[in-house]
């Protein structure tokens, strides 16, 4: 098992370097002054010269790439034009907000989706089933930003239950993780965007769980579980749902990609100071080092989550061998 994880981590690191390389060359393929991707054009000429040498900008693309990779290995993604601070620092500041929002959304979606999907299949033909499918599909196909805006209008503007945007009430400052994230104010800000995220995510676990459950319920081992005289609840949870979960985990891993895409929209609408919003801003501000760094980190995040899902799968399904 450990061997398997180590190998998978190795492969993942290789993939990250590969993706970073692609991102690097994509950015360089854009028309315009190549130095502009690394060095802020508004700088004083002397300072620029120092940086041009630092990044090998007077050399070939290959030289620049070598510098880029060397820096990457040291987790150095350059300096942001806009903030004038290391990109890495800005990103690590933003990541917790994104992860918390995304994970809360995922927990809501998977919690409700998995149980709901299992129940829908168990009580096949019940009104609940078609209602559940319809609602899930509405929230999946409705534009996320629209749902987000509507929820803001309803719950923040009209009902005034939740704050409309941001992650804390203005004036509140916090430095440590605990001060920023572990308080009621943050929780209040979190509810609305995470519920919207959850609604957007829910179709995947709900529908896959339902289908996979229906499939599992017709398996011979379910009949066997009945023939053994197990109680219905035990059959539902220990046998049917347990096995139906496997494809949901796989689908969840594949779904992460689009989930991150959705986060960019949600963070923008809710002014949520996460990585997604930072990317959008970096692009509009022509803050290339930050945009490039954010892309690299985002794709790395995705790969890490994929790996987690794979490992989870291997733990859940004894038929997977860790070779």
């Amino acid at each position: 098992m450990l061997n398997y994880i180590a190998r998978r981590v190795g492969i993942m690191l290789l993939m990250i370097i590969l993706v970073s390389t692609m991102i690097f060359f994509l950015f360089r393929a854009m028309p315009g002054d190549p130095t502009a991707f690394v060095v802020d054009p508004s700088m004083a000429p002397e300072a620029r010269q120092v940086l041009i040498e630092r990044y090998g900008l007077d050399g070939s693309l290959w030289d620049q790439y070598k510098v880029f990779i060397k820096d990457l290995v040291k987790f150095d993604l350059g300096n942001s034009f806009f903030y004038g601070r290391p990109v890495m620092k800005i990103i690590t500041d933003r990541i917790p907000a994104t992860l918390i929002l995304m994970l809360t959304g995922m927990i809501i979606a998977y919690g409700i989706g998995v149980f709901g999907g299992a129940l829908m299949a168990w009580k096949r033909g019940h009104k609940l089933e078609s209602a559940g499918i319809t609602i899930a599909l509405i929230f999946r196909s409705a534009p996320t930003f629209w749902v987000a805006l509507m929820s803001i209008i309803l719950f923040s503007v009209n009902l005034k239950w939740f704050p409309a945007q941001g992650m804390r009430t203005s004036g509140y400052t916090g430095e440590t993780f605990k001060e920023i994230f572990m308080n009621l104010d943050f929780l209040k800000h979190l509810i609305l965007p995470s519920v919207v995220a959850g609604l957007y995510f829910i179709a995947t676990p709900l529908l896959i769980m339902r289908n996979s459950m229906l499939e599992v319920l017709s398996e011979d081992y379910i009949e066997m579980a009945r023939a053994k005289g197990l109680r219905e609840n035990r059959i539902l949870y220990k046998h049917a749902a347990r096995n139906a979960l496997l494809p949901v985990v796989t689908a969840g891993a594949l779904f992460l990609g689009s989930a991150i895409g959705g986060m960019v929209l949600l963070e923008t609408v809710f002014s949520w100071p996460g990585l997604g919003r930072e990317i959008v801003q970096a692009v509009t501000r022509h803050d290339y080092p930050l945009a490039q760094g954010a892309f690299i980190i985002m794709s790395s995040l995705m790969m890490i989550m994929n790996l987690v899902a794979d490992i989870l799968y291997a733990v859940l399904d004894p038929r997977i061998s860790y070779r």
Partner: protein, 348 residues
């Protein structure tokens, strides 16, 4: 007292196209320790009947009439919890698809222990001990309890299922083609193990198979089903010497191992089983019976006593000698084949 008494049992499958009258008016009894073999063509309702006795019919299956009295109590009217307590503990099934009957995500041991513990208040340790015991009986090493199903061969899985069925010493074992997927050698071994255990524990058994030669070895009684009805029920000794029903005679031709004639070619019964969907008139076997008369076309024959513990559903038990003679001839069945072809032309 009879352990099991099935009385005038009717079972339907409700489908979009209509009701499939899969089992009709089936009655038989089973004494403590008796084993009965159930044979009949694929689709004649054997598995359905077996599942019904455990109340394991799928959602669209309904018991539309009759009684199943187990130890004097009617299973048909019992509630879910009462049924649950009967399963495995009293009536255990070795299912037709034993290969896929183990959940792939749990070890075999976990699955056996789960069954034991849902009917007794044994501790986990005691349950493991019991599982080891039944594994020993059926000839599996106890370390196999820790295996996942995918780590076992088909024969091992089959044995594990049998071990599970035996784990609580049930009074009735229903074995639905327990060895179809196995090679002949393993099959023989497992079969003799099953019967040995059954004899030892004095449990009764319903043994379903396509291979009627197995029944001659294993079962005291044989029931021949066709199109959802019992055609003949007899002690196997009598049956294998002298079957009565035209369908049984046809079956006998198809199995060389119990035949005393050596004609080389096997004669099979031409045609296909009846469609049980629409209105059913006359004898179920009429399309394929070489000896049918107008009466057979119109009137359903009742199951009649024709000897000691010997019943058949045919209008003409007295013509049996003639039937036996004729059914050995190829021409007899060739005639049926021609008739079927002609009739289908007539329909078209």
């Amino acid at each position: 007292m009879n352990l099991l008494e099935v009385k005038n049992l009717d079972i339907d499958y409700v489908t979009k196209e209509g009701n499939l009258k899969v089992v009709r008016d089936v009655s038989f009894t089973l004494k403590q320790g008796e084993s009965v073999g159930l044979v009949g063509e694929s689709g004649c309702g054997k598995t359905t009947l077996a599942k019904t006795i455990m109340r394991l019919l799928p959602d669209n299956g309904v018991i539309s009439g009759g009684e199943i009295n187990y130890k004097g109590e009617n299973i048909v009217t019992k509630n879910k919890e009462e049924i649950r307590k009967l399963r495995l503990n009293e009536i255990a099934m070795i299912s037709q698809s034993a290969m896929n009957s183990l959940n792939p995500v749990y070890t075999v041991g976990e699955q056996i222990i789960e069954g034991i513990r849902s009917h007794t208040n044994m501790s986990k340790k005691e349950a493991i001990k019991r599982a080891e015991e039944v594994f020993a009986i059926i000839g599996l090493e106890k370390k196999r309890l820790k295996s996942y199903p995918h780590q076992m061969s088909g024969g091992m899985k089959q044995r594990a299922i049998i071990a599970m069925a035996l784990s609580l010493n049930p009074s009735l074992i229903i074995a639905d083609e327990p060895t179809t997927a196995l090679d002949v050698v393993v099959q023989d071994k497992i079969l003799s193990q099953i019967t040995e255990i059954q004899k030892q524990t004095k449990s009764s058994m319903i043994f379903i198979t396509h291979d009627i030669s197995i029944i001659s070895e294993l079962c005291e009684t044989i029931i021949v089903m066709y199109g959802g009805k019992i055609m003949e029920k007899s002690s196997s000794k009598v049956f294998f010497k002298a079957p009565y029903h035209p369908y049984s005679l046809g079956l006998q031709n198809a199995f060389p191992s119990i035949l005393d004639i050596d004609k080389g070619d096997l004669i099979s019964i031409p045609g296909a089983p009846p469609n049980l969907m629409g209105e059913l008139k006359g004898c179920r076997f009429k399309e394929r019976c070489p000896f049918r008369t107008d009466k057979c076309m119109e009137e359903l024959p009742e199951l009649k006593e024709i000897g000691e513990d010997h019943q058949i559903a045919c209008h003409y038990p007295e013509r049996v000698d003639e039937f036996r003679e004729e059914s050995k001839k190829k021409e007899t069945w060739q005639m049926v084949s021609d008739r079927i072809i002609n009739e289908s032309k007539g329909d078209a």
